[in-house]
């Protein structure tokens, strides 16, 4: 996957503002490796699509610079950038057949008709739509239209492919199927892909790296595993996967990058320090629901608390417990579906616990402090 082919695309201090006062993208710096699959993940309005549009040339850059292979993109008109793009609503030309849609980029490049037919055929094979040349887009299902849109963005062999929430209009099952399809195509072709989505699960499946966007800047950029295991912002920790986030104050710094944090009314949690912190600082303590276990004996874990079971949901592969503990009314715990789990009932008082290293003390957002 990320085969270290050098920097392909670079964003340098890019700022975008539509009205001159509100910045939708703030001083963004980002380097994308050749052949990398990078996902821009974030809620709507976080500036991720704007970044994509600036790269494709459909939005101007207010300040800063975007370069492809070291060349500033604003010197190249959009139709000369050679970037394949898949749009949210596919943007297949409704008056042209699938074959004509695919040969469109080849026709405008003056490629001979025999070669066009050959490449259209290959592109359709790539997305497993052999023999669909003569269909009109309106006669295809959503998933098929999606495949055609991808094939069209690839048929002229661009080095960069951009996708703007391409699976947003599909139902869940089809979306999952297409995720693996896109992953396969990327691995097969090795093009640089920049993918925009607000679906964290999609980002996890597809990406070499994920850039988590919030309010026009990147909160954290890392491979999916790192984002999940080592989020360094509370926004990232709860945007990627489920997380229990407890508000607290640092009491004491301890050896091994650990600290004691007071949470709730009288509980104390041991957590890993992520950023330099002093006693008295406010922090968010985050612990994944699956890292919490039911304690069978006293002092089994370095963080161990009494909890009241409010609800139990059977999720198939795990049980989802909704607990009240540490001053938190909806503390989530996921217990693997293994023999012996059935001992817990709603209303029970149980002991839960987790290791200090599974628990991260995340810095407060500056603007959220009050």
């Amino acid at each position: 996957m990320g085969n270290g082919g050098g920097t392909h695309i670079a964003f340098e201090h890019v700022t975008k503002s539509y009205d001159g006062t509100t910045q939708v993208v703030k001083d963004l710096c980002l380097e994308i490796e050749r052949g990398e699959f990078l996902t821009l993940l974030g809620p709507s309005g976080s500036g991720k699509t704007t970044c994509l549009m600036m790269l494709a040339g459909f939005e101007t850059i207010s300040s800063g610079n975007i370069s492809i292979d070291g060349q500033a993109v604003h010197t190249i008109v959009p139709h000369k950038r050679g970037i394949g793009m898949v749009f949210q609503n596919y943007a297949l030309f409704p008056h042209l057949s699938v074959g004509r849609n695919l040969s469109f980029p080849l026709e405008v490049r003056g490629i001979s008709s025999s070669e066009r037919a050959d490449r259209v055929k290959k592109a359709l094979e790539l997305v497993q739509l052999e023999g669909f040349e003569d269909r009109k887009p309106a006669n295809l299902s959503g998933g098929q239209q999606q495949r055609v849109a991808i094939a069209r963005a690839l048929v002229f062999e661009p080095e960069i492919v951009l996708m703007d929430e391409p699976l947003g209009a599909l139902d869940r099952r089809l979306r999952e199927e297409m995720q693996y399809e896109i992953r396969r195509i990327h691995q097969q072709l090795g093009v640089t892909m920049v993918y925009v989505t607000h679906d964290q699960q999609e980002a996890m499946v597809l990406s070499d790296r994920v850039a988590v966007f919030r309010d026009g800047s990147i909160e954290q950029i890392a491979p999916p595993e790192t984002l999940y295991e080592e989020p360094n912002r509370v926004f990232v920790s709860s945007f990627i996967g489920d997380n229990n986030v407890l508000y607290g104050k640092v009491e004491e710094i301890r050896p091994g990058d650990l600290c004691n944090v007071a949470v709730g009314s009288e509980d104390h949690v041991q957590a890993l320090i992520i950023e330099d912190t002093q006693p008295g600082d406010s922090v968010w303590v985050a612990v994944r629901p699956e890292r919490v276990a039911i304690a069978r004996e006293e002092k089994q874990y370095s963080n161990q608390f009494e909890a009241i079971v409010k609800d139990i949901v059977f999720m198939g592969d795990h049980l989802r417990l909704n607990l009240e503990t540490c001053g938190q009314r909806d503390f989530i715990v996921k217990i693997p579906n293994i023999v012996g789990h059935g001992a817990v009932l709603p209303g029970d008082r149980i002991q839960i616990g987790w290791a200090a290293l599974d628990c991260r003390a995340l810095p407060m957002d500056k603007e959220k402090e009050n």
Partner: protein, 400 residues
């Protein structure tokens, strides 16, 4: 039981809602249209005045002067027609077939009242010797036909000779076929000009910011809301010999003061004024279609390597086709029947077929002919509509 009742109720409401419209259309449109179609082939006036004579003439050989019996009946019915004041109607209709015979009937009817004789044939020939012309009697027989296609023949510059054959009228009397062709030409030209001017405007309105689009739309709509008469007469002010356009051209030195351009009361005036008046009918459907074309298509085309011109020709233009066909159909069909504008600014060279219909309704009072021309025009409109439906499909029409 309940199902049936609710089914009926479900029908009653929509039918009730459209009932006033149906009644309105029936009274103001279907009935007049029907009577017009009937009028174009049905002409009972002569048959009502001369029933007996016509009956006798149906057995006449058509080569020799009719018998005493026919003259007798004609004399009787002419005298009666004088009392019911219908002699003129007969004279007018016979005169249309055999011109120059109008005076025969009035004169004969007037004199017959004072004559006491049984030898009516020689008496009538004494009054007017045209009574011994076989052509006059054939014309009377023709005029007496209750159902006739003569108006249609007349409306396409044909006539039925007295021997029964159909021939084109003499060249100096041909007017209608030229007018149909002129109407067709003007309609096509106006449609073309409206498209040429309207397409860029519609494109602009559909692609500028919302606030700008509102202003532009208003500029298109204000003339649309202004009285047709006001718009047309304002072209008189602009285009006349001492008008604004000529004044500017003279002031710029492009035209000599002595030979100012004739811009009005001719074909130019008709084309200019009609293009202006009909322009909104082109712009509005085009705008409605263009506004619905997603901007993503143009972005997609650019990302696929098409330059702006290629994107427009290959992606945008084909998608605007439903708007183009709707606009062209509207403008073309409206042009075919246009009346006020050519009447005011067209002069003699810029008159269209509808002006001729108006002339026959208002001045010559030949309603049968007016009806026949109208039916031909209406048929033309229907043919255009069906050709359009075949080519483009009326269901693809999108009006704003």
């Amino acid at each position: 039981m309940t199902d049936k009742r609710s089914g009926v109720q479900r029908l009653i409401v929509p039918v009730g809602l459209v009932l006033p419209l149906i009644a309105f259309i029936l009274v103001t449109f279907v009935i007049p249209l029907g009577s017009m179609v009937i009028q174009s082939v049905h002409d009972p006036e002569v048959a009502e005045v001369l029933p007996n004579t016509l009956n006798l003439l149906s057995e006449w050989d058509g080569t020799s002067v009719p018998s005493e019996e026919v003259f007798e009946s004609m004399a009787q019915e002419l005298v009666l027609s004088r009392e019911s004041r219908t002699t003129g109607k007969v004279a007018t209709r016979v005169n249309r077939i055999a011109s120059g015979t109008r005076s025969v009937f009035g004169k004969t009817a007037r004199r017959l009242e004072r004559i006491e004789t049984t030898e009516l044939r020689s008496a009538m020939i004494d009054i007017d010797d045209r009574w011994k012309d076989v052509e006059l009697w054939i014309a009377i027989r023709e005029a007496g036909r209750e159902y006739t296609v003569k108006h249609y023949l007349h409306a396409v510059d044909l006539e039925r000779e007295l021997d029964g054959g159909i021939h084109p009228v003499s060249e100096d009397q041909r007017i209608y076929n030229t007018l149909y062709l002129r109407t067709l030409f003007v309609s096509l030209a106006v449609t073309f000009f409206c498209f040429l001017i309207g397409y860029p405007i519609a494109y602009a309105i559909a692609n500028v910011s919302d606030s700008m689009a509102k202003i532009l739309l208003l500029i298109v709509l204000i003339p649309f809301w202004t009285s047709l008469l006001v718009r047309t007469t304002s072209w008189l002010v602009l285009l006349q010999n001492q008008g604004v356009v000529n004044d500017i051209l003279v002031w710029l030195g492009l035209v000599n003061d002595s030979d100012r351009l004739a811009l009005i009361h001719n074909m130019t005036g008709t084309l200019v004024a009609m293009t202006h008046v009909l322009l909104p009918f082109m712009i509005l459907p085009l705008y409605a279609v263009m506004r619905a074309i997603p901007t993503d298509y143009m972005k997609a085309a650019a990302s696929l390597g098409a330059n702006p011109a290629q994107s427009f020709v290959r992606v945008y233009f084909p998608q605007s086709l439903p708007g183009i066909s709707a606009g062209c159909l509207l403008v073309f069909i409206l042009s075919l029947g246009y009346y006020i504008t050519p009447a005011l600014v067209g002069g003699t060279k810029g008159q269209l077929i509808s002006n001729m219909i108006a002339y026959h309704i208002q001045s010559s009072l030949n309603w049968g002919l007016a009806a026949a021309i109208s039916v031909i025009l209406l048929t033309g409109v229907f043919i255009c509509y069906f050709i359009f439906d075949k080519w483009v499909g009326v269901d693809k029409l999108r009006l704003s």
